[in-house]
Symmetry: D3
Subunit: 308 residues, 6 copies
């Protein structure tokens, strides 16, 4: 608490709803945002504003913010799948991690009819042959809250349904869609090769730079569509934006309202990736598309708003 | 006007839409808010903002703001009645006062099918055996505007329908629901006893601290549900909040939109009172519930936002 | 760009979303607003705000803003026509100019079933006997973008449909409704007389002070309804207001949403003109009505907000 | 008072000790500065600051401020006289006016040993053959305070010493030094010719643009040194600057301290006029010198501080 | 420290060198001012400013500030003595207290040749027949720093020179000048009578309202000059003003410079008391003089600066 | 100019006379400070303030600021010499560099009677056996302004007086006092050894970290007093502080006034180094003294002002 307050004493003049709005990241969750927000409120004499996002629902936070990165990733993947004339129903998805992001992705994936067949942790991987259930998804929150940081708990809790293998990654499980949801560089070249051998059809990076460059190269070389993190995981930051909008109007949108706006944003992002990533052979290079789309947006704004 | 301006010269740096937003109270109505707002606008160089509430509709005021306290009180009472498996239709309601609050309460009560059988003034009480009519409700505004401050006018205007008794309070009229809407300490222990003798089923305090402690004790001792002012009359301040919301988005909600949001707020308040006020015997102590709910809300925010 | 920036260095402390929000005017279009906004954003450290209107859609601009003046003018005219028990369908409209305003007016007029039979430019007038088509309306944008500033291009592009007469104004074309959409003083007394001889039924000034006083006098003397520019062309500024609203809530309304709100505003303006402009003989003097309505609005606010 | 306050409500955000500091001018004396300062203090919550100059001594005003323009003018004239190898002692000086400026000039002139032989008013001129005395100088303040605006009073008060001639200007009196101290354009070509015929040796303009262009031309043609108002009367504004300095340090300088700094400033101004006004024949064109010196100062600052 | 910081979080926007500058008082010494100043500096991002006075010399405090109240009181008393044609040399002075104020008064009294024959504490009085010495004055600081709060220590430390009497006040000691320097209401009517019986010639109140009304009445009835605290103890606040001046110029004055300015301020205060307090019989009523002088100063400023 | 302006657009809200006041450093001289100041003035609407130091004299710069580092270094050295019971007269001083710092040091050294026997440049060293003369010191400014960056010019200009040796440092010249005035790490261990062999008596580092650690170790091992840069070169920053003081009071001190205050500051710094650097054997370790003095100053302020 004291650390958050000391940090805010230096920061408060440089943030604000129309200026700059930080959100939490690794190690800064709702508790820390609460302390930061309390200090900001006192120093700036402003309340209920979007100077910070990821706030508690009681003082300006947005519904669906916790699920947003996972939901958004699945929306993006759904479009990748449709691009191939394929559909989400019945697809087998391997997720790494069992935290916030994996939890959100699993929730939405199940909602769309897909099967989540693997989650993982620092201790190993949990294979779930018949797909994760609602009870198992809810139990992910308990696992996270326990601070034990072990995915093996899932197998213990649901014997027969989930099978734990120590020391292995999620990528050993045969799947149609692979989604790294844990941390940087978690998917190496050999992991990519195993996924390809097992017939993976789509790879979507959800963690920031979760795939090593060699892994990406291997996936793309195999003509398997690869969605880069900068596009796939944009749902989190986008929903921070939606939180700012709600704060601006002093209102709270319902969960379906936020979800629908998030869905639209992910679709727009996907469309821009396609617009700039369509190759001569008709396939989409999502990496190229995302890079060019991002560059164009900034460049056009700079030209239009003048160079000071 | 000069007083309002001088007051604002000292106050303006300490209020604002995201900081603190005063509303009028006894002796400060729309006219004074107009002068205060004009001075604020000039000093702060800001217009159409929620730095003050209770503004005229022409520059940022909210529809339903005048009716809000009365509407909200009836919404709360409706829930108290339903809690008993009972319904509003046909209920006989005695209101004290004939001003803004009583007018709003009468309007909504009639809308929900209840009968308002008494209103009162400093000069006495007006009994209305068959229930107040739309014409009589409209006439309350004329009575208020006349500055004569006499409830006897109602009996004069509607002979046969309304019967005036000088020097008495509304609590002498036999009723199912008693709602003090006038001023502090207006309902004494002897009033409570008379109400109970006459078979009152619900008492809801609308004026701030309208019931004396001994009166509350008597009502609760008789197992008659008692709604405390801090919960029952929250609709006024809540609608000031809705006015700030509309100002934030530079929009005006329609009357039904405001009314619906007000209704939801009153329901939420009622639910919190029940959550914290349910006794071992299954009955609700609304006083206890409101106190605990209010305390918990502040305490949780303090803990979550840190202690500076 | 440098000029816009230098201008903003002096201006920025005196504008803001709740303070004063300039919009472009003659010679200040989207490009200049972009430069002004870029400078404002840097100096004030605020983004996405309504401190300026007429912004690009990408950073806070409103849909329908370009069409707003023209749409609004037609909405006003539609009410003038209905006032006479008449209807827009089939009405022949002569517009002067072929720029933003005329383009918007033509679009909405055609949508309501009217026929635009003349547009004009500095080089002359283009008669379109069968009424302007969607292709011709779209071509107006090309004409404007070409910077050739010649209305003759329309006749060249659509031979047989449009007939060009050099050196003449739109007012030589027989029409039911005349709408000057170009510049100040463009409609002189002799133009008014020719319109009246040709049986004009309604004249609505869209350009700022587009009709010379003697022309207005002649039109009113002939008992032909005349809508003054201060009311008829209010749609542009009104939609700047709607842009500020959207900025306040950090949202974008869809085109139909903006159009509907614009329509309501124009109807309200029309109603106020009628309220204050109804003459003893039952006809409407729109000039008088607009003047009184405007004066009353300011005067009432001054009285209500106090004199400092 | 109300006018000063209303003026300050609009101005206060745009002045300040380090920003812009207005001083009084025609019609704005100590009384008005007091009202302006009181309003500024309340609005800006700042006291004893140099946001305004010409304040009362009790809240930040400077000693010698009232005398400053007259003192400064005599300091400048003294240098003009010395430039010719001449001295002030015994010089006959004709002053126009009998207000603040003339009073200050007379005081300092007598202190330096010169004879003030004429003062004037709207009613005529008062010749004082043996030179003005301390009693007469003090009486000028009474004349001004009487609001009678008549210089004849001096002759009435001091019969034998001062001789009044109605309807004439000070320039009919034979003198060595002529100093217009009253108002714009007060010294015409024919006045200049009379002065030259009477053997005037120096002319120093103290009022703003007190000499008509033809008068200046005649004086310069006769090789009589002419000091332009922009340099000669700079002592007033300069002492406003000294008031700001004292406010900055929250101190009051003694009268001799202020006088000494004023003297130094006038010497510096004189030196710059000479530096830039020295002609090929060794004489000084003070008009040219003052113009060039002023231009160079601004131009050099602009170049050195960069062009934004 | 935490208390000072919490206090400043609320206060900082409302103080400043040109706005309002608090100083310490009972229970708020240099340590607390240090904490308050540290918090102010961090929150306001301003350093070395006069937003607070009584600061440590290392960051903007003034020399002589600790001694100022005592020095100023003696300067005032010196004028009271001279008014009677008398002189300070050899005068016997009884002081109450042995803290900051008494220490400053003793220092300056001895410097002017007077004899301090009594100091006192909560435990009793210390008589010093031959007058306090420099060593004894220095020892007062040790006594204060010891926190033992006993004046008896002086007698223990300097046996033979100082004689302690328990439970008595300083007013039992025969003296020419009595100066209460401790706390409110410390000098009662019976004390005044004893002083008068012992031949006291002057009484000067240094503590805030140190003399009870009946005591003042008795002293004035005996025609003994009485200096009221509002004038006599002004040296402390005045030197806070000098601290602000030094902060404004970012300079430190030497001790003699501060002492000289303090002396001039006390002389000015004394002169104003005399101007407004001279009675018909030629004597001075210092109470009346101080009251009228203070009132006139505020009233004149209010009139001159206008009524907003 | 554009670079300076762009830099200031980002910086201006974070500097100010009571907040933070940058000064120039390598590559940022008077020209750049002028551009920065011009941009600051425009953005902050403040002029003549101490938000930047090293300003031109025309708008708030201080006299002696250019000479300050060199003057201050010599003042420190003078105290080192006196500490040994020695005197400056006749001392032989070797300076490295020929820029601003060396020029200031040479000026003050000659004023105190010392002989500057070497200056140096990137091209080599210039030995001046009979000591530098006033003409040679003035010529250093020409050398610097020429941008040729060659010290050989001095030998060319003053043949017989100055002898150039290419590729060598100043430390080859036999001297009593060595003062590195050029750049970081310019004095290596072998240079120190040569200086010691040649009998150097004092070494004072003027450039920031001009001496390599091994060099300092060698000098201290030889019991030769070594003044560290953090103390010796403090005169530059100190005079920036004096510039801020002058800006605060809106005044300009004369050159002797600034020099005297600079001298006092250097003496205070020296005294603090001695206080904390006195060793058991009575000698002074200036490095230790400067480090401890600096630490204590910050630590004491932190404790006294509280930990937030």
């Amino acid at each position: 608490m004291r650390f958050c307050q000391a940090f805010m004493y230096e920061l408060w003049r440089n943030i604000g709803p129309d200026q700059d709005s930080p959100a939490g990241d690794v190690g800064v969750g709702g508790r820390e945002i609460g302390y930061l927000y309390g200090a900001y409120k006192k120093l700036a004499r402003e309340h209920s504003t979007g100077a910070l996002t990821g706030k508690s629902y009681g003082w300006g936070g947005s519904l669906i913010r916790p699920e947003a990165t996972g939901f958004g990733a699945i929306y993006y993947v759904e479009r990748m799948v449709k691009e191939k004339g394929d559909k989400m129903e019945g697809k087998r998805i391997a997720l790494s991690g069992f935290g916030n992001v994996a939890w959100g992705a699993a929730t939405k994936a199940v909602e769309l009819g897909a099967k989540v067949v693997a989650i993982s942790g620092p201790d190993g991987v949990c294979e779930i042959p018949d797909g994760i259930t609602k009870e198992m998804i809810d139990y992910m929150l308990d696992m996270r809250a326990s601070n034990r940081n072990k995915v093996e708990d899932m197998a213990t809790k649901f014997p027969g349904k989930a099978k734990f293998t120590a020391g292995k990654k999620a990528w050993i499980v045969k799947c149609d869609i692979a989604m790294p949801c844990a941390f940087q560089n978690e998917l190496a070249e050999e992991d990519a090769k195993m996924l390809l051998e097992n017939g993976v059809k789509y790879v979507a990076e959800v963690s920031n730079m979760g795939c090593q460059p060699a892994a990406i190269a291997a996936i793309q070389a195999a003509k398997v569509p690869f969605g880069p993190g900068k596009a796939v995981n944009a749902g989190g930051v986008a929903t921070s934006g939606l939180e700012i909008c709600q704060n601006a109007g002093h209102i709270n949108w319902t969960a379906p309202e936020v979800d629908q706006k998030l869905h639209k944003i992910m679709n727009d992002i996907y469309d821009m990736c396609v617009e700039h990533g369509r190759m001569a052979d008709g396939t989409i290079n999502y990496v190229k598309g995302a890079n060019i789309a991002g560059f164009m947006r900034v460049a056009k704004a700079m030209v239009a708003q003048g160079i000071i």
